[in-house]
């Protein structure tokens, strides 16, 4: 994906050459680095990934500090005695404009929405990764009938149009609360991780170093936590970044349709809910800024995912 933007391998080769010329023993320097130091070293040279990391860090700051600086209260209507259907376009006082109807400040909505949207994206990912790791470990470790059963369940889940099922679940189980939405999204985002972890188990279980560890009496639990899961970590991290991006978009969609988080807690999706009715008035700023926030976030997460993939791939050399 990233060959145009990413740093060219030649730059690193050039550094290596200079290091050689300067008489440094570059290779020996590499040897002493741990796997994570190495990964960070490679990640650092992925320009887009760093930009992504910067964006996400900024967004997290906004999500934490923003709502304190400009608190949102659903019951408070900015101009209670004024009934103007038309919203107002971006201005100095309201850089992202005001919504039609209740005349809410779009910036305030977007800032408050960032907290909910990011929270949902990341925490549902943690739930998904946890479930996926557990299911994948059980399937890969126990094998046999249980493995077969669990993997068929994964097949079934993957055959369902997941967003659609989430819509149904959001409507039937949801009560507009954020936690429920997090749980629902978490429950439907573990399948990829479980397949990954299972395949890692299958390939490593038979490998020689595990046989050797077994032979000297290392317990299974130690093998799992010391050898198998750390090996599965890199692909999981990459998949996790995709889950975060997918769930942020998914939540926005579900909330936009009114089946997700209730409008009392703004998210980037439910801010948009009423925007469609204002099409004839041309209040374009209303849907635009929350959408741009989503795009920016997803872009940043995808960049980080790309960077991680390159950094954690042992075949790619920094």
């Amino acid at each position: 994906m990233s060959d145009v933007f990413s740093n060219e391998p030649g730059i690193e080769a050039e550094r290596l050459r200079r290091a050689e010329e300067a008489g440094e023993d570059y290779e020996v320097g590499l040897e002493s680095l741990s796997q994570w130091q190495l990964a960070w070293r490679k990640f650092r040279h992925h320009r887009l990934a760093l930009i992504g990391l910067g964006i996400i860090a900024t967004l997290i700051v906004v999500a934490i500090a923003g709502p304190i600086l400009m608190p949102f209260d659903f019951a408070t209507i900015p101009v209670p005695d004024k009934i103007v259907y038309q919203g107002s376009p971006p201005s100095l006082a309201h850089p992202m404009g005001e919504t039609g109807g209740l005349q809410r400040d779009v910036l305030e909505l977007v800032v408050n929405g960032s907290r909910t949207s990011l929270f949902i994206g990341f925490s549902s990912m943690f739930i998904g990764v946890t479930i996926g790791t557990i299911v994948g470990s059980i399937a890969g470790y126990v094998g046999g009938f249980l493995d077969n059963l669990l993997m068929r369940i994964v097949d079934v889940m993957l055959s369902l149009p997941i967003l659609f099922v989430i819509l149904v679940a959001g409507r039937f189980f949801g009560n507009g609360s954020v936690v429920l939405i997090v749980v629902i999204f978490g429950l439907f985002s573990w399948m990829g991780v479980s397949r990954l972890v299972r395949s890692q188990f299958l390939s490593i279980r038979e490998s020689e170093f595990v046989e050797a560890a077994r032979a000297v009496g290392v317990r299974d639990r130690r093998i799992i936590f010391r050898h198998i899961l750390p090996n599965a970590f890199s692909p999981i991290v990459v998949v996790a970044s995709l889950i975060v991006a997918g769930n942020i978009i998914g939540e926005a969609f579900v909330s936009f349709l009114g089946f997700g988080v209730s409008p009392t807690t703004p998210t980037w999706g439910n801010i948009l809910s009423n925007a469609l009715t204002f099409i004839p008035l041309g209040n374009w700023w209303w849907p635009m800024f929350p959408g741009l926030a989503i795009i920016l976030t997803v872009l940043a997460v995808n960049f980080i995912g790309d960077g991680l993939r390159d950094a954690l791939d042992p075949r790619s050399r920094a």
Binding site: M1, I153, P161, F172, L257
Partner: protein, 373 residues
């Protein structure tokens, strides 16, 4: 090959069964249930709710409900055993064959197994009828989207690969990143604001036909109108199709053009491409006959896996553009807790997914001679 297809189809059966259980389970676990819609209505008494439940068999034990929905129990026996778990005899159809078999063999006609999804709770209409009415608009949207998606994604990908690092390639990369990060529904909203808002207002904001001119799509009157003004009617649909189509394909094109590009670049770097050049073949033959054919192998599989996204995308797009298809039907059904309709749609979507995967594998085997079954 035929043996392989048959084997894969048979393997799909347990998955489909699993899907029915999951779908049923999700809907069953939902609080409220079909009577929830009466909650706000003061004129509906508790007694009326009980009657409603009894009439729809919702007071039965869960396995009975599931078996009835699936059509394991025959119609005749069904009436007698309401209230008890189905006896083994209940699984035998009128013709003496197990009820699991298709209609001509078992003689049974109700239940999912026999192609009957029951009645819509909210409208009382046959689910089959509601779905088939909504199927045509979705089919029009999805199939035209599929064609545009594939053609554009492949063209962009191949062109970008051939002219690697060119301005076009870089523009395509930016488009791919942004397009892939863009929520479909947001793109739809912005397009409506742009093309149907007060500024431009050149394209319709929603619907499938100009309702002031023609009868509603799908009605008998409409087909009479369609017969009389075929060209105008098609152009009208086409005009309404532009925005939803664009909305639906952008994300897919963004992702797949990168995939095609990467695959094409890999193929162009292969030794056999050098061989083809060494044979003196013209550049076009080298690119399209030797490289593209190999580059398409992973793309074929990827497309098969992405086909289901078209369905999810259609739900989104149809909702925004009030396109009278399956997506809209879905949202209506969700809003009115219409279980039978929802289960029907979910099951159809899941079946399509399973067969799209099968199709992808078969297509792969057709284009790659190295795969044998």
């Amino acid at each position: 090959m035929i043996k392989y297809i048959v084997r894969r189809t048979i393997q799909a059966i347990p998955v489909l069964f699993g899907i029915t259980i999951v779908v049923y389970g999700i809907l069953l676990a939902a609080p409220g249930g079909p009577t929830a819609k009466f909650a706000q209505n003061p004129r509906i008494t508790q007694e009326m709710k009980e009657d409603f439940k009894r009439a729809w068999g919702l007071d039965q034990p869960v396995p009975v409900q599931y078996c009835r929905w699936m059509g394991f129990c025959s119609k005749e026996v069904d009436a007698k055993i309401l209230g008890v778990l189905p006896a083994p005899a209940a699984f035998i159809g009128p013709k003496g064959w197990p009820n699991l078999l298709p209609t001509p063999l078992s003689g049974a006609s109700n239940g999912v197994l026999h192609g009957d999804f029951g009645f819509s709770i909210s409208t009382g209409e046959l689910v089959n009828k509601a779905i088939s009415r909504a199927a045509l608009p979705t089919l029009i949207l999805a199939s035209s989207a599929l064609v545009v998606w594939l053609v554009v994604a492949i063209l962009i990908g191949v062109y970008a690969a051939i002219h690697r690092y060119s301005l076009f390639d870089q523009a395509a990369t930016v488009f791919a990143y942004v397009g892939y990060a863009m929520p479909t529904f947001w793109l739809g909203i912005m397009l409506i604001f742009l093309f149907s808002g007060p500024g431009l207002n050149i394209l319709p904001a929603g619907g499938m036909t100009e309702t002031r001119v023609s009868p509603p799509f799908g009605s008998d009157d409409y087909w009479v109108y369609f017969g009389a003004n075929t060209v105008a009617a098609i152009l009208d649909i086409g005009k309404h199709l532009i925005l939803p189509l664009f909305t639906l394909v952008v994300v897919s094109i963004a992702g797949d053009s990168r995939f095609v590009r990467a695959s094409m670049l890999e193929a162009l770097g292969q030794d056999y491409v050098r061989t083809a050049k060494a044979k003196g073949l013209p550049a076009r033959t080298v690119t399209f006959k030797h490289a593209l054919r190999n580059a398409m192998l992973p793309v074929v599989t990827n497309i098969g896996l992405e086909l289901p996204l078209l369905f999810t995308g259609a739900i989104v797009t149809e909702t925004i553009f009030s396109w009278p298809g399956m997506g809209r039907l879905t949202i209506q059904a969700i809003n009115s807790f219409d279980y039978p309709v929802l289960m029907g749609i979910l099951l159809i979507a899941a079946t399509l997914t399973v067969f799209a995967n099968l199709l992808a594998d078969v297509a792969y085997a057709v284009v790659d001679p190295r795969i044998t079954y």
